[in-house]
């Protein structure tokens, strides 16, 4: 049987684990928010794709705010966004911008799968909804679907 202090310690550890995974998701969202600025700047002015980039950027900003609130409400200190982020590839064309959007969404989906692994059912559901949202955005940019969004270790046919 676990003592009261043991239970309190377990709850604290579980809370810290949740905060760590939410921080990971926050970092991915902050990177995506930065990245979409680059994406939008390299798409034709006034195009549907630039409009989509703006809508996706706003979506990431909204969830960033939500994550900040979730971390704070659990006693954590939300990590601030970096001033700039290293891009996976230089972006100088619209094609590279679209590839960056796909990359950002894949990273976001991956980060939220960490939230899905937490024991808290509410956080699991939140994480799964965000994996789904990121996968939908990624598919729109990619023009095709993927069998396992966010699960980079699984390769279909592999």
């Amino acid at each position: 049987m676990m003592s009261a202090s043991g239970r309190a310690g377990q709850a604290r550890s579980s809370q810290q684990q949740a905060i760590a995974k939410l921080q990971d998701a926050l970092a991915a969202e902050q990177a995506a928010s930065y990245g979409y600025g680059v994406v939008g700047a390299h798409l034709p002015q006034g195009s549907a794709r630039q409009g989509a980039a703006t809508a996706d950027w706003v979506a990431h900003m909204r969830v960033t705010d939500e994550l900040v609130a979730m971390i704070s409400s659990r006693g954590g200190q939300p990590a601030p966004a970096a001033v700039a982020y290293q891009l996976p590839e230089p972006v100088q064309t619209a094609t590279a911008a679209v590839a960056l959007a796909v990359f950002l969404e894949d990273r976001v989906a991956q980060a939220y799968l960490g939230v899905v692994a937490l024991p808290d059912s509410g956080l699991r559901s939140f994480g799964a909804q965000q994996v789904r949202a990121a996968a939908l955005r990624a598919a729109a940019w990619r023009g095709s679907t993927q069998a396992f969004p966010g699960l980079l270790a699984i390769r279909p046919n592999g």
Binding site: A117, R124, A128, Q129, R132, L136, T145
Partner: protein, 122 residues
């Protein structure tokens, strides 16, 4: 879902067939992963492993569909329902299986959107 797609493919032509066939291939990959992670009870080897989603004969689109638009529409509904159902089942799962379910749920949501776009383009 695989059997549902197999049935639907018979009613689809050219472009719609190719789109649905690509999605079906992802369901095959889902099933393979689920089979590799789910433990079959001993003595149950003769019965097929039932994937925890995508009931093969119930739900929207199980019957009464005709024409490519209707077929794609029913598949869309089935995909969205399967995605929602998987997310609803996450709470009871061990972490790694919850991650797999969430990823498959996300994939199914993208299938629904992909089929919707394909249907609208026709």
């Amino acid at each position: 879902m695989i059997a549902r797609y197999a049935s639907a493919l018979k009613q689809l032509t050219a472009g719609a067939y190719i789109a649905a066939r690509a999605v079906q291939a992802e369901h095959v990959a889902h099933l393979a992963q689920l089979r590799s992670r789910l433990v079959e009870p001993s003595g149950a080897r003769s019965s097929p492993v039932n994937p925890p989603h995508g009931s093969l004969s119930d739900g929207p689109g199980a019957g009464g569909v005709n024409g490519p638009h209707a077929v794609l529409g029913q598949l869309e509904i089935a995909e969205q329902a399967a995605s929602d159902r998987l997310i609803g089942e996450l709470a009871a799962l061990p972490p790694s299986l919850a991650q797999l379910f969430a990823s498959i749920a996300a994939s199914e949501a993208t299938h629904a959107e992909y089929l919707r776009a394909d249907r609208r383009a026709r």
